[in-house]
Amino acid sequence: DSHIQYERVGADVTMKCGSMDWDAAVTWTANGTDIDESHLNGSYLILKNVDLTQSGQYSCYEGSSWHLKYQTYLRVGTPPKEPVLMCRSNNYPKGFYCSWHLPTPTYIPNSFNISVIHGTREMVCEKDAFPKNRCHIRYLQLFSTVKYKVTLTVTNALGKNSTTLTFDEVAIVKPDPPESVVAKPVPNNPRRLEVSWQNPSSWPDPESFPLKFFLRYRPLILDQWQHVELSDGTSHTITDAYAGKEYIIQVAAKDNDIGTWSDWSVAVHATPWTEEPKHLTTEAQVTETTSASTSSFMPPPTTKICDKGAVVGS
């Protein structure tokens, strides 16, 4: 009989040659290669302190007739550790999704079971085709003060583990980052940059569930970001840019009333408008260049202090 045998890393494994007696003459192979006699105790195969490399197909043949008497596929692995579970609503108020992973691999197949309880009601978590370890739940009720309790249980042939999350409806609301971020210089304005973006396409109803935004920008030559929070609209004009310096700009989003900030958007780069160099005679050119080089780096008059309470992407 051929089947799968699961064993823990480090275990000692004994395999009998099917119904053969202990003192019967047999030959054992691993993946088709004969196994040294030192691993045999009579007709039993003994594997000490097995490791992952010893996973494979083990076969036992009757000594003289080479008749296959026993075959098994040995899978060496570990029982599952406590899984890591995360639930989030990036399309509020439609629903939320939960995703999970194991902190360390088990090297053998695992099965996951998730239960979502809201008050006394069990809710269905519909598995997503992709990514694999994820499912989503549709809100049946909004504005509830009753907490959600999500329990994930992971099982494999060597053991079982679980984790539970309890949260309020509003606490897990975290939009996706804003999309289509564009930054452009403003002609004839050496200190301005025009930034625009769009609501994340996953956010279903920005009219009833408006988002507010957090813009951060800095010249590439500096490390310190400047921040500005915007409670409506999807564009902003930076008016205190260093003239002629390339800027990096990112935007984050948050529901106006609840939840946490999104991660930062993709970064965009832009450089404020600079005047075209005039075609001068040589003498004029010299005087022009000397005066220009001393004044091109002027720090902005005002630096906006960000809202201390706002931590993005946490």
Partner: protein, 195 residues
């Protein structure tokens, strides 16, 4: 009852809605602050779960996006009238229990009570834009008698404030739905289309 939909009524409605949204936002942040103070002063556990308390309007709602504008306003008004009575009772109990010992909590409660009353009036204004106007208050059930123990009263107060915080979020959402231009709105019919 078709809502009056003259341009001036539509403008008035949008104005009332946007002011109501701001009031709901302010009320919510004040209620959240009050909740922290209340939990601390009353010696409660912030994560204590409070089962649905009799007489406290639950903000939770199913198929919220299918509600008509009139339904939203009527449910909101009924809730804030109930909260007005509940907060007044909490204030009275708080004074009896602590007197001036905790004036700060009393003032915070009174401030939220004022906002709740203002918001109820605001909702009545919105309903007046409709032909049938707000329902009368006669016969509205007063809060149940206080045969509760001191600890039960404190838990009840926690339940009231938690639901009120959720209602403030819901109200802002409701008003945004109502303020939506009625044509081409993909969501539930706004006030103008209410039956």
């Amino acid at each position: 009852m078709a809502a009056s939909d003259s341009p001036s009524a539509a403008l008035r409605r949008r104005d009332l809605c946007s002011r109501g949204i701001r009031l709901a936002g302010k009320m919510r942040s004040d209620v959240v602050d009050l909740l922290d103070t209340y939990v601390e002063r009353q010696g409660l556990d912030a994560s204590a779960s409070v089962v649905a308390v009799e007489g406290v309007p639950a903000a939770a709602v199913e198929r919220w996006d299918e509600q008509t504008g009139t339904q939203r306003l009527l449910e909101n008004l009924a809730a804030y009238r109930a909260f007005r009575a509940l907060l007044a009772q909490m204030l009275e109990e708080q004074r009896e229990q602590l007197g001036e010992a905790d004036a700060a909590l009393g003032r915070a409660l009174a401030a939220v009570l004022l906002q709740v009353s203002a918001f109820a009036y605001h909702l009545e204004e919105l309903l007046r834009l409709e032909s049938h106007g707000p329902p009368s208050e006669e016969g509205a059930s007063p809060p149940p008698p206080s045969h509760l123990s001191l600890f039960e009263k404190k838990l009840r107060g926690l339940g009231v404030l938690r639901e009120l915080a959720q209602w403030a979020v819901r109200s802002a959402r409701d008003l945004r739905q109502i303020a939506k231009p009625s044509l081409g709105s993909s969501s539930a019919p706004s006030l103008a289309e209410s039956p």
